[in-house]
């Protein structure tokens, strides 16, 4: 029954919620690892939106773009994790706010 009431709008609402969780996580958490995970949440929320719209409009391009996003997300994770590992090695337990050497 529940599945039957799920329509396309529900997916969009879900993705909006996930996106907001991710965005707030980036803004309020100070652990760089958690911030990175929140960024992943935002990306996947966007992926969900793409897929939903692709289905709604009966257009395959929405799903194709998801692959691009996934590739970019993978690359982003590599760079981001690399930076986090580098920071963790030099200054164990550092938060994102401790890394502010580039301030003007």
């Amino acid at each position: 029954m529940i599945l039957a009431t799920l329509n396309d709008t529900s997916y969009l609402v879900l993705s909006a919620m996930v996106f907001c969780i991710g965005a707030f996580g980036v803004l309020i958490r100070r652990n760089p690892l958690v911030m990175l995970m929140c960024v992943e949440l935002m990306l996947n929320a966007v992926n969900l939106t793409f897929v939903t719209f692709g289905r709604m409009l009966n257009d395959i391009s929405g799903q194709v773009i998801v692959f691009f996003v996934l590739v970019v997300a993978a690359a982003e994770v590599v760079v981001g994790l690399g930076i986090i590992v580098a920071i963790a090695r030099r200054r164990p337990g550092a938060t994102a706010d401790d890394v502010s050497l580039l301030r003007g």
Partner: protein, 635 residues
């Protein structure tokens, strides 16, 4: 044969480069001979090219070697304009220049910077040839500045004496005042005609508005006045006597000072397009300079100073010719003047050499027997500059006076009176050097009479110095025959120059009888001046003092007034300008800089280095965009 013309400036340049690299190794006298050979070879090439020019249409050869500057529509080529005017000029520049080089070999003997002297001399000749042969105003300006800087080097060649260094600076700075006018003239020419190449803008010069042509003429005249030592910028030339005497001969006779006259003759179509008052002003400027310098020359005691003021006076005659429309007559006088004035300077150098560096005519006299060649050649030059027939100066000066009469009788009268003064002061010079009693060790006023002076043994100069004197004396005597005034078929120089000067020059319509009357008047005036000087300085029938007032000896106090002005109010004005520059102009520039620094200091706080702040900024931006889209965009 004409295509060899590039060799003419290239040879002295080659000499300069060789002397620059190998000068000290060549030493004396090899470096002198090398420099002389280069200028002599340039003379030979000039002769060949001159002969080749006869077969060209309109006796003109132009060639562009490469593009020098190309910016937008502004293009300046490195090209040569070899026409009757420039060919006539390079002949006497290289010819007289070679003789002066030869003379310098003897004169500079034993100087510690012997190779460097010839290095500068070759560079000087090169610059002068570029000035004359260049086919556009900018190339002429290049040579113009080249001769300026070389004259600075050469005037202050013996820079150990502070006076010499000061004289060099004075010449350079005074010339810069005139160069300002030249530069503005080039700019206006470009704006008016869209070209600064002679062969492009001179044929269309009459199409310009009268105001524009007047502006160009006046600006270029300011440049010419500086280089050719006319009122009010003549003050550098007498001081330029601080240099070695061959330099005085090269700068004041054959080359640099004639550059201004050359420029005026070259742009004569523009002068024609300008308001008539420009040429009238040039004529009065010239005759005024001629008269003023002649009065000063009367009372000078330094023999080189007399010659310097006489040069200014003769250049005034050339400007008188330009202003009266006698463009070819100006060139005619320039050529004869190159011969007799170079001869006078070299003769004076020979006298100074023989008198052991004595330049005061009050300690000379009776040198005729001891220095026969110098005396004989000097007397030829004296007769030439005084205007005694049939020597060269007589013919050229008379042509100028005829043009002056055609322009205005007042100009003629002043010019004639100046001719009288010229004959008078030149005779005074000759009588006091070569005739009368020997006063070699006499005290001069203001000196301690009891002081024991070293004994002087005047002697004749070596052959490298006397040979140029003899050659120059020959030309000073006969150069006038290149143009005899009586009939059309004997006016060779006027015919030769007519492609350049004939179209806009004044037409003289005097009959042969009138010409003979004018020639007679000139002769009487010249002989009158000589006779008066004979009575005053040789027979001593008339006291000399009234002829040499303090006012003349001090040069009408003009030089002193300039120095006092520049030292007093001028200095204050310059200080004021410097203050304005430091506070207002520098202040504006620095103010803009510090304004940007200050605002940067404020704005940089935004970059606080916290990643989450940046993320917040992005979020706010994204939300703001969304709000904008939802509220403003119509679906």
């Amino acid at each position: 044969m004409v295509s060899l013309v590039w060799l003419i400036p290239a040879l002295p340049l080659l000499g300069f480069v060789i002397l620059l690299l190998l000068g000290p190794r060549l030493g004396e006298p090899a470096s002198g001979w090398l420099a002389t050979a280069m200028v002599g070879a340039a003379f030979v090439v000039s002769l060949i090219a001159f002969i080749g020019l006869h077969s060209r249409a309109a006796h003109t050869y132009t060639h562009t070697y490469f593009t020098w500057i190309s910016v937008g529509r502004f293009q300046v080529d490195f090209g040569v304009l070899f026409d009757p005017l420039s060919s006539a000029m390079i002949l006497f520049i290289t010819g007289v220049g070679a003789l002066i080089h030869l003379y310098s070999i003897g004169y500079m003997h034993g100087d510690s910077r012997y190779p460097r002297f010839f290095l500068y001399m070759n560079l000087f000749v090169f610059s002068m040839l570029v000035l004359v042969l260049g086919d556009n105003l900018l190339l002429t300006f290049l040579g113009w500045e080249g001769v300026g800087v070389c004259s600075y080097f050469l005037i202050s060649f013996w820079f150990e004496k502070p006076a010499n260094a000061t004289a060099g600076k004075k010449a350079f700075i005074t010339n810069r005042v005139g160069d300002w006018g030249f530069m503005v003239g080039i700019f206006i020419t470009w704006f008016t005609y869209g070209s600064i190449t002679y062969t492009h803008f001179l044929p269309v010069s009459q199409s310009a508005a009268t105001t524009a042509a007047t502006f160009i003429s006046v600006m270029l005249l300011i440049g010419a006045v500086g280089k050719s030592a006319q009122i009010p910028l003549y003050i550098w030339l007498p001081d330029a006597m601080a240099g070695p005497t061959p330099v005085s001969a090269l700068i004041h006779a054959a080359t640099m000072v004639t550059a201004g006259v050359y420029l005026m003759v070259r742009i004569n179509p523009v002068l024609h397009a300008a308001s008539p008052w420009v040429t009238t002003m040039i004529a009065w400027l010239g005759v005024g300079t001629a008269l003023l310098a002649a009065t000063i020359a009367i009372a000078q005691t330094d023999i080189k100073k007399v010659l310097a003021y006489s040069t200014i006076s003769q250049l005034g005659y050339m400007f008188l010719a330009v202003g009266s429309g006698g463009y070819w007559a100006a060139i005619f006088h320039m050529i004869t003047h190159a011969f007799f004035k170079a001869l006078l300077f070299l003769g004076a150098g020979s006298v100074i050499h023989g008198m052991h560096d004595e330049q005061d005519m009050r300690r000379m006299g009776a040198l005729r027997k001891l220095m026969p060649i110098t005396a004989g050649t000097f007397i030829v030059a004296w007769l030439a500059i005084s205007g005694v027939p049939p020597f060269s100066g007589f013919w050229s000066k008379d042509e100028i006076l005829t043009y002056a009469l055609h322009k205005s009788p007042a100009l003629y009268v002043v010019g004639l009176f100046t001719a009288l003064l010229t004959a008078f002061y030149m005779s005074r010079l000759v009588y006091r050097i070569f005739f009368g009693d020997a006063r070699w060790t006499d005290p001069i006023p203001g000196e301690d009479p009891a002081e024991e002076r070293p004994e002087v043994h005047p002697h004749e100069s070596p052959w490298t110095m006397t040979v140029p004197l003899v050659i120059l004396a020959f030309f000073a005597a006969v150069a006038g025959f290149i143009n005899l005034p009586f009939s059309g078929s004997t006016k060779w120089l006027e015919d030769w120059l007519s492609p350049v000067t004939g179209r806009y020059g004044a037409e003289l319509t005097y009959s042969n009888a009138t010409i003979i009357v004018l020639l007679t008047i000139s002769t009487i005036v010249a002989l009158g001046g000589i006779g008066l000087a004979y009575l005053v300085y040789l027979r001593k029938r008339i006291p000399a003092e009234p002829f040499e007032p303090e006012l003349f000896a001090k040069g009408w106090y003009y030089d002193i007034a300039i120095s006092d002005f520049m030292g007093g109010p001028g200095r204050k004005m310059a200080d004021g300008l410097a203050w304005f520059d430091r506070t207002v102009i520098d202040g504006a520039v620095n103010g803009i800089g510090s304004a940007f620094r200050g605002s940067g200091n404020v704005v940089r706080r935004v970059q606080n280095g916290y990643v989450r702040t940046y993320a917040l900024g992005m979020t706010i931006g994204a939300v703001a965009l969304l709000v904008y889209i939802f509220t403003r965009v119509q679906y």
